[in-house]
Symmetry: C2
Subunit: 107 residues, 2 copies
Amino acid sequence: MRPIPPGAVAVIFVSQRSAADPEGYAAAAVAMEAAAAAYPGYLGLHGTRGPDGFGVTVSYWVDEAAAQAWRDDAAHRAIRDRGRDIWYDWYDLQVATVTRAYDWKRV
Amino acid sequence: MRPIPPGAVAVIFVSQRSAADPEGYAAAAVAMEAAAAAYPGYLGLHGTRGPDGFGVTVSYWVDEAAAQAWRDDAAHRAIRDRGRDIWYDWYDLQVATVTRAYDWKRV
């Protein structure tokens, strides 16, 4: 992923999966990541989920307008409804504006 | 964790663990989480790491000054040096200001 520039928007999604419908969830996760990546202003996504179903995913957008356009995407809205119906026990979501960023890699 | 208020600072730490020193890393992670939690202005932490060593951790602070005080903590600095020496292959870190937040829980 390219470095995240100051002024970018980070959407932090912290969630607890239910035990329900692992196949449906996995298929939707792949589809939504591909759909997000095709959206204008998408900078990237980092996420992981443990075997206990607890996950943290951060998607990065060039600005608020880009993040909000993806939020308002009709297919994304429908999938979020399904998430509340079936796939999640709870989630916390924060939208935040990046003020500074650092990358480090072993050389 | 209590809800994250607008204006709070989220420190997003995305990292790839090396295979080295799992016991030392685990002990340091527990110690650093406890030390952070004792710092003024700490709001909470969410994180998870997969079996592949890839992890996403977000710590939340009441404001920039609180996040920077923890960044400047001497023990935390020493542990970060050790992280670059031994525990991580790479990491990305972003500091971001929360503009809005949502919580949802199945009722």
